[in-house]
Amino acid sequence: MSKRVYITGIGIICAIGNNVTETLRSLLTEKSGIGDITLFNTIHKGIIPVAEVKMTTGSLLEATNNKGRKNLTRTALLGMIAAREAVESAGIHDIGAYKTGLINATTVGGMDRSEDFYASFLSDPGKGRLIDIVNHDCGDSTERVASYLGIRDFVTTISTACSSSVNAIMFGSNLIKTGQLDRAVVGGNDSLTKFTLNGFNTLMILDKTGCHPFDENRAGLTLGEGAAFLVLESEDVVKKECKAILAEVSGYGNANDAFHQTASSPEGTGAFMAMSKALTMSRVRTDEIDYINVHGTGTQNNDLSEGLAIERLFGDKVPLFSSTKGYTGHTLGASGAVEAVISVLTIQNQVIFPCLNFFKPMKELHIQPVQDVTKNIKIRNILSNSFGFGGNNSAVVITVNSE
């Protein structure tokens, strides 16, 4: 697997922007997307903050020319918006011109509708509108996005909790490197649901003041929602089409922590292995990584274990790093792609977006995240981490195009 894989398009919709331009503007002005819950009724409203996409499902339907359709989930609609932007930004007019795949990632699938269905179904098994449950499975949003974009060659879905969409980047890259695809639209989509909100709440890892990644007094994560996609193309297609290259996917690694179903090992074994594998594949030395977009959820457990793994890998020369979850919230299955898109923006604009809500360094660590918008440094290689339940740890190296 020696062929190179290039990023030629990006698209995003998240709490800080409905597209790439808006997202970049919020990042540069340090504007967080975290606020009160408005999307659904819950007893947690006004108590637990979240990072919602600032569009109602109705306006998402309109924005995707689906007004009036009743069979689309919020997850799928978010996916359509971001994937369409990615394909447009890659300058693709004929999706069928090359063998193209869609590798999507999601954790909630159509749960935003299933939980409505279930409430009626529980009261009477004959009740509940079937149109609210038929889109429950994770493959639904993927096929909706595929059909929206006209992708037919290969379509699949990955779900590895919070590392899902880095794995989509990885699998898409492998299919391109082995010549099974010429290009792949890769990414993830997840919408906020009562199910995930309550689920994370039972684990007592939702910060009532909004997340404070890598802060000594951090008290948990903030759930977000969104979708992000990248268009990956083979070296051959890029040359043939004289494509503008945004960045290169130069390496990636996947490892399992094999420690606990939800908690990370104290020393971050899986995190260390995933980062090491990614660096080895990209043939980048630790001192050549200019910035790490950390997983940095803001939970006690993640940030400590990730921080220790980073210190172990980089020694006393830890690169500049920040978590961008203070802007977007933790978008779960979409987070890896959201942060890969932010990493491409970091390379394109040669600017590091700071960690929001950071006040006090963690006592166990010697390192602290970037706190101000940082320009005038050379950013060639970025490491982006995504870790999840099930011990699923993944990391990707995104590199400036050297040609």
């Binding site: 697997m1 819950t42 007893i43 947690h44 999601t106 954790t107 699938g109 299933s114 939980e115 279930y118 409430a119 529980l122 098994p125 079937l130 429950h136 499975d137 994770c138 493959g139 993927t142 096929e143 595929a146 060659d153 290969f154 379509v155 699949t156 879905t157 990955i158 779900s159 590895t160 909790a161 794995n167 699998f171 492998n174 299919l175 490197k177 082995t178 010549g179 099974q180 009562k194 199910f195 309550n198 689920g199 709440n201 039972t202 996947n254 490892a255 399992n256 922590d257 094999a258 420690f259 606990h260 179903q261 939800t262 074994t269 292995m273 999840g388 339940f389 099930g390 011990g391 699923n392």
Partner: protein
């Protein structure tokens, strides 16, 4: 990219049939009057800590069992690992609906108790990657760990991932599995959607039943894939391809011919074609058309009368195909039509589609 051969060296399965017995190969198939089949579950306490058995959903337990059977089967076939056991380099699973029992449990308590007094266990186990994560945890396997969740091609995607990486030299082996569980609620909902036959039928006779729909099923089936051939290797896993509903029969034929041509084969070379026939006449027409146009000289077989219909049913078919090749015999219960088995079973093709939406070909060869 098919220069490095990949072999199936271990199998492990939990199914509605008596498939746990290595010595008998579907000799006494079970049939019952029903519209859904549930797995014959093994005694879990031999390999799962008892406190975990109580908390785990069935899909997790069935998958752990199938993966254990698979790895010990692979260890039997590999002299050096029989004492130490095999820890695979990668664990790659596919599931259509994931841990639906835990998902339902959490949803139910969330709704019934108005978001109060919730406990985390069923939420934790509801994530789709729980199966692969738990297997890794029990094996202390730090390697590549992946879960595909794409409807009727979840298992195929997992095999494609494994084949891609083994052929590229990134991995030398992988544990690959497909699993789905049937719950009372998911069955009730899919019944309302018209998926299943309204009146119960003898499961072995579903192909002749004229009612709409099929029978529901479930199962967990794992393979140990490796680039090393052993004396007891089951089969070579030659290729897998998955695609969305073809626009026409000729597009389907085109896909078949192109797929086989990659390996220098034509339909006539196939010794046995295993089809996903499920007794829903609309769905089955797709297979019947292909039998007529391309497999007139090939022995056909079916399997969903044994395991029912579910998103990862093709993992049962892959188990079947691998056993057929190693034993060079086709159990009577899977054969249909009048043709006799050929003298040698060299190339076995599986063609399955899920609700005519996700289609896939899986090709296994004699090693």
């Amino acid at each position: 990219m098919n220069d490095i051969p990949i072999y199936i060296n271990g199998l492990g399965i939990v199914s509605p049939q008596k498939t746990a017995d290595d010595n008998r190969f579907l000799e006494e198939p079970l049939s019952c009057l029903t519209n859904h089949l549930r797995c014959i579950e093994p005694v879990y306490k031999d390999f799962i800590p008892s406190d975990m058995i109580r908390r785990m959903g069935r899909i997790i337990k069935m998958s752990i069992a199938a993966s254990k059977f698979c790895l010990s089967d692979a260890a039997k076939n590999s002299r050096e690992s029989i004492t130490t056991g095999i820890v695979p380099e990668a664990i790659i699973t596919g599931t259509g609906l994931g841990c639906i029992e835990d998902t339902e449990k959490f949803l139910t308590s969330m709704i019934r108790d108005n978001e109060e007094f919730l406990t985390p266990t069923s939420f934790i186990q509801s994530t789709h990657n729980t199966v692969a994560g738990q297997i890794a945890l029990l094996l202390k396997c730090h390697g590549y760990n992946f879960t595909f969740v794409h409807r009727g091609i979840s298992f195929e995607s997992a095999m494609i991932d494994a084949l891609t990486q083994i052929q590229a030299g990134e991995l030398s082996n992988a544990l690959v599995g497909g699993s789905d569980e049937l719950t009372a609620n998911s069955f009730a909902i899919t019944t309302r959607l018209g998926f299943w036959k309204q009146k119960p039928v003898q499961s072995l006779d579903i192909l002749d039943d004229k009612q709409r729909g099929t029978i529901a099923g479930e199962g967990a089936s794992f393979l140990f894939l490796t680039n090393e051939k052993h004396e007891h290797t089951y089969a070579r896993l030659t290729g897998v391809t998955a695609f969305l509903r073809p626009l026409s029969h000729s597009e389907l034929r085109d896909k078949l011919h192109k797929f086989l041509a990659t390996f220098g084969l034509i339909p006539n070379d196939i010794s046995l074609v295993i089809l996903g026939l499920n007794g829903d006449q609309r769905n089955d027409q797709v297979y019947k058309n292909l039998l007529e146009t391309d497999f007139q000289n090939t022995l056909p077989a079916c399997f969903k009368h044994l395991c029912g219909e579910y998103h990862t049913a093709s993992s049962f078919a892959t188990w079947l195909a691998a056993r057929v090749i190693r034993e060079q015999s086709v159990p009577a219960v899977v054969r249909f039509g009048l043709r006799q088995p050929p003298a040698k079973l060299d190339h076995v093709l599986i063609y399955n589609h899920f609700r005519d939406n996700n289609h896939a070909f899986i090709l296994l060869n004699r090693p």
